[in-house]
């Protein structure tokens, strides 16, 4: 990022390549809409580019980067909630446009066993729904913890809370997930 600050265009290109996939995934899992996630991800990169001159490496770059992303995602979720008065987090997964995107990604899966494929898809949808049901801040904490593998300290700074409050937040989130995913957890015990 310091090279980007110095005006090195190639460094920004490297930044884009390195962080675009984790960023789009994080935003996609936050807002549950592929197009919206990519729009927000573009906005994050644009803000990073705009702020490059004033960037002070007081914290890890990932902390700063995902703080921008998290704030944008949380604002977007709130805006969407105001616009669509009746958005149900329980809506059938088949109605989710973005799930189609992930199905497209599964085209490369050539397993002959269609039934097995469907079972796995149902399983994934159950996991997605369980994540969607989490309150936004808990969802952000889980995504940053599980998929970005950030330190507790980093996540706490991103979510603007103490490390102890974050651990409590994550405990509650995992408790909710444990209950929501109880049948799958039980299946894992039998396997």
């Amino acid at each position: 990022m310091l090279d980007v600050k110095a005006g090195d265009a190639q460094s920004f290109e490297l930044l884009l390549r390195r962080y675009r996939t984790p960023l789009v995934n994080f935003l996609y899992r936050m807002v549950r809409n592929r197009e919206q996630a990519e729009d927000l991800a573009q906005e994050v990169f644009l803000r990073v580019y705009r702020a490059r001159k004033g960037y002070v490496p007081s914290a890890k770059f990932t902390t700063w980067f995902f703080r921008i992303a998290t704030n944008l995602a949380l604002n977007s979720i709130r805006d969407t909630r105001y616009r669509q008065l009746e958005v149900s987090i329980d809506q059938p997964v088949v109605a989710d446009a973005e799930d189609g995107d992930e199905k497209q990604l599964d085209v490369a899966d050539h397993r002959p066993d269609i039934e097995q494929h469907l079972v796995e898809e149902v399983r994934r949808n159950t996991i997605r729904r369980a994540i969607d049901k989490l309150p936004e801040k808990q969802r952000a904490a889980v995504l940053l913890h599980k998929y970005q593998e950030l330190d507790y300290n980093e996540i706490a700074r991103i979510l603007d809370c103490s490390e102890s409050a974050l651990k409590s937040l994550l405990f509650r989130a995992y408790e909710t997930l444990r209950v929501e995913l109880a049948p799958l957890v039980a299946q894992q015990s039998h396997q």
Binding site: R29, A41, L46, Y49, L105, F171, Y174, L181
Partner: protein, 154 residues
């Protein structure tokens, strides 16, 4: 202890805290079960596939970055501009006119000892004027009829 379950389950609890928690786990079956369940939940979350950004994503980001106006430095703000120059000269002229305008003696106050003495003498009158001018019952009086004398003389 609840706050330590997940850090232990994901392997991030280190050193003395880890050893202490392991001692606790040896005696607490409910925490042991919770650790196992959280590890299973974490495993389930790991089953979700990665989503790749669309091929147009990079192109759009580059286009938006290229469309950004070049950042102006602090000094650029001070660069000569006809509008800024006109506004500044108008301001200078206005300030010069105000500072050289002859002052109103009534506003400026007494300038000599005699004038000051007259003002002190007039103070009761001024105080009475203040009382009468803001005396509320007077506001209820009817308006004086001014044209009566003129009508009678005709």
């Amino acid at each position: 202890m609840n706050e330590r379950i997940l850090p232990y389950a994901d392997g991030r609890l280190k050193g003395r805290e880890r050893r202490e928690f392991e001692k606790h786990l040896a005696a607490c079956s409910s925490c042991r079960i919770r650790v196992e369940e959280f590890q299973k939940v974490s495993g389930l979350l790991g089953e979700l596939p990665l989503v790749e950004p669309s091929p147009a994503f990079d192109v759009r980001v580059r286009a938006r970055v290229a469309a950004e106006p070049p950042r102006q430095s602090w000094w650029a703000w001070l660069a000569p501009s006809p509008r800024v120059a006109l506004a500044a000269s108008m301001l200078v002229l206005a300030l010069a006119w105000i500072s050289h305008r002859p002052g109103d003696p009534a506003i400026l106050g007494p300038s000599s000892p005699e004038a000051e003495y007259r003002m002190i003498n007039d103070l009761p009158v001024l105080e009475d004027y203040d009382v009468v001018s803001s005396f509320e019952p007077l506001t209820d009086l009817p308006e004086p009829v001014q044209n009566d004398d003129a009508n009678q003389s005709m």
